[in-house]
């Protein structure tokens, strides 16, 4: 690993807007930080806080949630539910002593490849500034079950 | 008694004296108590803003900061002058819209041991609280001398209904608040499309030709529509239309005689006060004939003439004599 801390970030994207924005960013060959690994959901409304906790507990340093702009949800209004859950989850994280800034919700339409890439780059820097979370290491060996397949390390 | 913080503004003590006097007569009957902001300073009118931003807004903000110290029970600041009203409201609004500005202004205020959080105060104009807090019915109920038969052109001026950061007025172009008040007083309010046009503002000072044209428009249209007089809510408007009307006439070779009074003076009249108590008569374009329409007798104030100390001849130069030269040679 390089001197600089390279955060690992899980990104949850909406199938209709941000995932397509990511596609667009690709088609337009926009370059952005490689630290984010995307998971496609049908809608930000599908986002179960469990997923975010799971990601953070399993070694992610941050979680990026992206959905359609308010009023533009493919499913009419589900992104508002995502927003509500996000706001409450942040409070819980705070209570756990985890910087709420490690989880971020942004709106990006299918047309906003540029916005998405900028948001990703900004977020990566924000997380870099916060430093590693390494919850998986915190828990490792303390009876927490994480699959540990035998395999060599691949640089992140 | 509903209490408000009060920012009179500079003109209230000079050119707008009549405004101040008449306001004082209507407060009590309408159950309003004004608490003057202690050691308030000039709002900078439109001049300050044109020089330096931060000083301009700091100057205004000092008043807001001072006001916050006095807000027990109310956070409403009332300004009777449209320009003051706008500046105070504007500072409050922009300090919010542009945090950078807010911070700098507060940094400046600190130098005077002061500080203001935008949004703390609610800046409103006198007529706003009269219409929306006191209410037209309350006003109507105090009328003992309806202004029936007095044709009034309601002149709101420009800085009151615009830009209207907090959407207080019925309309930006043809606000009706003043019409409503005047109607409540029983006056015949004429349809005055120029109600929210500009009086020329400081142009009377820096570009008279421009100002005269604006004044002409106002006066001629009011005259055209048969108004006996104009009613205003702003000292600056009153000053321009009143004090410069002669010069304007001179400039255009016209001969308009359109008195302009503060709406509070008309309220005073309707509430039964006498012209004298309301500073009626100190206007330069006399409202005598206009008010005669409702049988109000305006005391005669002597027309302006050079005051003289002693009634004696003026000294003459010594007559010139040839000898002077010679003497000089000596």
């Amino acid at each position: 690993m390089s001197e600089q801390f390279e955060p690992t970030i899980i990104g949850f994207t909406c199938n209709w807007c941000s995932y397509r924005a990511a596609d667009m960013a690709g088609t337009a060959r926009m370059k952005y930080a490689p630290n984010v690994r995307l998971i496609r959901l049908m809608c930000s409304g599908r986002l179960d806080p469990t997923f975010i906790m799971k990601a953070l507990a399993s070694g992610a340093d941050g979680v990026l949630i992206t959905g359609c702009h308010p009023g533009e949800c493919h499913y009419l209004e589900q992104n508002y539910k995502a927003l509500r859950r996000y706001l409450l989850l942040r409070r819980v994280l705070k209570g756990m002593g985890i910087a709420p800034e490690r989880v971020k919700l942004i709106w990006a339409s299918a047309a906003e490849g540029v916005k998405l890439t900028n948001e990703i780059n900004t977020f990566v820097e924000e997380i870099r500034a916060l430093g590693p979370l390494g919850w998986n290491k915190k828990l490792a060996g303390n009876g927490h079950k994480i699959e540990e397949p035998v395999m060599e390390e691949v640089a992140a | 008694m509903s209490k408000y913080l009060y920012y009179p503004g500079c003109s209230m003590e000079s050119s707008g004296k009549a405004y101040g006097e008449s306001i004082n007569t209507i407060l009590e009957p309408l159950g309003i108590h004004f608490e003057e902001i202690e050691d308030w300073n000039c709002c900078g009118a439109t001049e300050y803003l044109g020089i330096n931003l931060i000083p301009a807004y700091s100057l205004i903000a000092r008043n807001l900061a001072l006001a916050t110290k006095q807000m027990n029970g109310t956070n409403t600041v009332v300004a009777p002058c449209s320009a003051c009203y706008l500046n105070l409201a504007k500072a409050d609004y922009y300090m919010q819209e542009r945090p950078a500005l807010g911070e700098k202004v507060n940094e400046a205020l600190e130098a005077g041991g002061l500080q203001y959080t935008p949004g703390t105060l609610d800046v409103r104009h006198l007529i706003d609280i009269l219409v929306y807090d006191v209410g037209l019915d309350a006003i109507r109920s105090k009328v003992v001398r309806p202004l029936k038969g007095l044709k009034v052109a309601p002149y709101m001026g420009c800085m009151l209904p615009r830009p209207d950061y907090k959407h207080r007025w019925t309309d930006h172009e043809h606000p009706t608040e003043l019409d409503d008040v005047l109607r409540a007083l029983g006056a015949d309010v004429i349809d005055y499309p120029l109600t929210s046009e500009c009086c020329g503002g400081h142009m009377t000072q820096i570009g008279p030709e421009t100002a005269f044209e604006l004044i002409r428009r106002l006066v001629s249209d009011a005259d055209e529509r048969g108004a006996h007089l104009m009613a205003t809510v702003c000292p600056m408007c009153q000053m321009n239309v009143d004090a410069y009307q002669n010069e304007m006439n001179h400039f255009f070779g016209s001969d308009y005689h359109m008195p302009i009074l503060f709406f509070t003076q008309l309220m005073g009249l309707a509430f039964g006060r006498e012209p004298g108590e309301l500073g009626i008569g100190v206007e330069l374009v006399s409202s005598r004939n206009a008010l005669a329409n409702i049988g109000v007798e305006v005391p005669v104030t002597q027309e302006p003439s050079a005051p003289r100390k002693k009634d004696e001849g003026l000294p003459m130069p010594k007559r010139w004599t040839k000898h002077e030269g010679k003497e000089a040679v000596k």
Binding site: K81, L88, V92, M96, K137, K138, L139, N142 | -
Partner: protein
């Protein structure tokens, strides 16, 4: 032939579970009738060495009550696991950490300070316990605390889980019946790892309160609403009731008497993180779309982490708050 052996052990917990077992009244006689009580410190005198002396798997059924707070707990857990055929995590502490688990939100030092050096503790000599203490007779040791509270399953393999703080007596009785029937060959044991002595839905299923679609405009603490509607779902009245996410089996005791469910029966079948279920459920039915408004409503839940993880923290995905890890690693 001799009766099968029964054991019950009390580790990090309040002891309520032991009382609950006694609470099954005469059923306790069936236990005695069907079992040879091998090890049950609360009920009868016994020494660890006796247990150590037993063959592995000699004990048929062990009910383990309590969390794994210190080295001794862990040691005993391994020992009893070795000696028992069936190990049951009995009660909330053993299954999910329960109240002791909340210690995982604070650093070790703080836990000690609160326990030994606060007003609530009479500690004139300011004694601070050490794992090893030198005395004339030599060294004496007390078990060291583990970095954080663990559930039983986090340190040893568990056969069955029986939730509840404490488990309801009727549920305990039922389980004992079941085991006896199994002994008599009249019934089958449920598959390993299943939850026994509880339902597989949530408290709402057993709750008799009226329910409608939920739209929450504000959260209140129960004492703020006086009196709460006795018929209507508490959550719909804005009282954060954990019932919707909490495993059934208690006959909705708390809601039945007008108190909100605090979640002692833990998560429902297949749920990975109990708190997450409440976060998502409560948030989903908030009736607002504007961030500011949502935040305002959320302010109604002063301590979300405590509200959602009162019993389940040690078994949550995070297991603990970050401060619990201050000591080991980063």
């Amino acid at each position: 032939m001799s009766k099968p052996k029964f054991a019950m052990y009390w580790s990090g917990s309040c002891g309520g579970c032991e009382i609950a077992v006694i609470n099954i009244h005469e059923k306790i006689l069936d236990v005695d009738a069907n079992f040879d009580i091998a090890f049950w410190p609360v009920a009868m005198d016994a020494k660890v060495k006796d247990v150590e002396a037993l063959e592995d798997g000699a004990i048929l059924l062990t009910l383990w009550n309590g969390s794994i707070r210190n080295e001794e707990n862990e040691h005993m857990a391994h020992l009893l696991r070795k000696k028992s055929k069936i190990l049951v995590a009995f009660g909330s502490c053993a299954t999910e950490g329960c109240i002791p688990g909340l210690a995982n939100l604070s650093p070790m030092q703080e836990i000690f300070d609160v326990a030994y050096h606060t007003i609530s503790t009479d500690n004139p000599n300011n004694i601070h316990p050490q794992t090893v203490t030198k005395v004339p007779e030599g060294e004496i040791t007390i078990p060291a605390l583990k970095d954080r509270v663990h559930t039983l399953a986090q340190v040893v393999d568990v056969d069955y889980y029986m939730p509840g703080c404490p488990p309801e007596s009727h549920q305990i009785a039922a389980v004992i019946d079941l085991v006896i029937q199994v002994l008599e060959g009249k019934a089958q044991l449920p598959p390993k790892g299943s939850v026994i002595g509880a339902g597989n839905s949530t408290v709402c299923e057993e709750c008799t309160r009226k329910r409608n679609v939920k739209m929450i405009k504000a959260f209140h603490r129960i004492q703020e609403i006086a009196p709460a509607d006795p018929e209507l779902c508490l959550l719909e009245q804005g009282i954060p009731c954990n019932g919707p996410a909490t495993r059934s089996g208690c006959n909705a005791r708390c809601p039945a008497v007008g108190a909100q469910c605090i979640g002692c029966y833990g998560p429902a079948e297949g749920v990975i993180d109990y708190g997450a279920r409440l976060v998502t459920a409560f948030a989903s039915v908030i009736d607002a779309n504007e961030p500011e408004e949502i935040e305002r409503i959320l302010d109604g839940i002063p301590d979300p982490t405590g509200q959602f993880y009162r019993f389940n923290l040690a078994d949550s995905l995070f297991r603990a708050g970050s401060s619990a890890f201050k000591k080991n690693g980063h």
